[in-house]
Symmetry: C2
Subunit: 248 residues, 2 copies
Amino acid sequence: MKVLIVYAHQESQSFNAALLARSVEVLTAHGHEVRISDLYAMNFDPVATAGDFGERRFPDRLQYDREQKHNYQRGTLSEDIAGEIEKLFWCDMLILQFPLWWFSVPAIMKGWLDRVFVNGAVYGSGRRYDTGGLNGRRAMVVTSTAAYPGMCAADGLVGALDVILWPIQNGALAYAGCNVLPPFVSWSVNFVDEATRRRYLDEYGARLAQIETTEPLFFHPLGDFGPDWRLRPEVAARAVGQGKPTTA
Amino acid sequence: MKVLIVYAHQESQSFNAALLARSVEVLTAHGHEVRISDLYAMNFDPVATAGDFGERRFPDRLQYDREQKHNYQRGTLSEDIAGEIEKLFWCDMLILQFPLWWFSVPAIMKGWLDRVFVNGAVYGSGRRYDTGGLNGRRAMVVTSTAAYPGMCAADGLVGALDVILWPIQNGALAYAGCNVLPPFVSWSVNFVDEATRRRYLDEYGARLAQIETTEPLFFHPLGDFGPDWRLRPEVAARAVGQGKPTTA
């Protein structure tokens, strides 16, 4: 497979850097091609502005998503965005690797989603979920946190992991058409010993060895929803966002 | 009350700009003091880097949250961060106003949280939720979306609103100690007519007229959790992150 890793950590001596190195090693050993968007190293600009557009369909009032579509179609998006879109459509699998900050991605990665997941390419004109622009691709969240696993259990202090990751896994990755594999989380990295960190690296490697066959998480396809945008009466909720009970 | 509005929209002709203007008008008319952090106008830098710290406790390897605490205590955080922290502790109520992008805040606002909600001030050393650093303050999410209300219903296409907003409302605002008021959402703004937009402005004004008495959302206090960080057996889940059914 062709794997794109979008990576957000500032520190080359970090545990996240070790995870990244391990992933390249394992993926390459398994015959996958790997490209990396190292957002800090690229000095990636996360702020969506009018400067992202070489042309304006609506010059008087910026409507960011509509200009995304217009400029994508005309090939007039800014160079940094166009370069990331090229990588995105090159890949068969997208890995988002980041430390969990405020129960979400760091700003530099949020801006990668805001600016690179463009209307007209990744979604739009009714295309989303199983008809999304990244349809057929796999995706995976790889994150680290100071939290202990119990804190993200089904009834944990900060909330169930599948609720915390809903906006990223469902709202961005599944919405765009990806089959989302279960996340890989390195727990309480600030507090564990070196042996545990080594175990995390091995576990991550084992997960990556199976990316072609791992069963994706379930998110409801478009056809499960009625014209009122709610689950059809005969469809049972199978994802937390639609009312399935939280899981550990 | 002293109200800080953190605002993230690039376009002065936008509906969000109209909402902001209305909020200043209504809040001032009700005797509240208002300050605004207009992140785009300030050219706020959302990217957390080593440059945020005048001193380093751990010069060899950047550990962002530990340096936040160290530099907050020493008064050596970068000027832009220190200025925002001053506003944050000045206020009795924090409003985050933004268009919902990928079911979260735009990157420029995520960076405001990443850099301004610092360890040692807003949380840390066990202080969080009802013991968080912003304890006693109120907070509110004010957002706009292209989505129709049904899409964010209890079983809606993109997921229940309380699940979508969990990382912001629980993970950031409640975690930091705020009492979080119900969010104000302007629905399907791209598609509604001018009369509906005017109605949204009036409804927002009416909500702001009651900020001192509005009942906050419920999030579990620290005491509801056992030493395993999970709800004590005798405590029923009353928030979606801990397993309460989703609501429209």
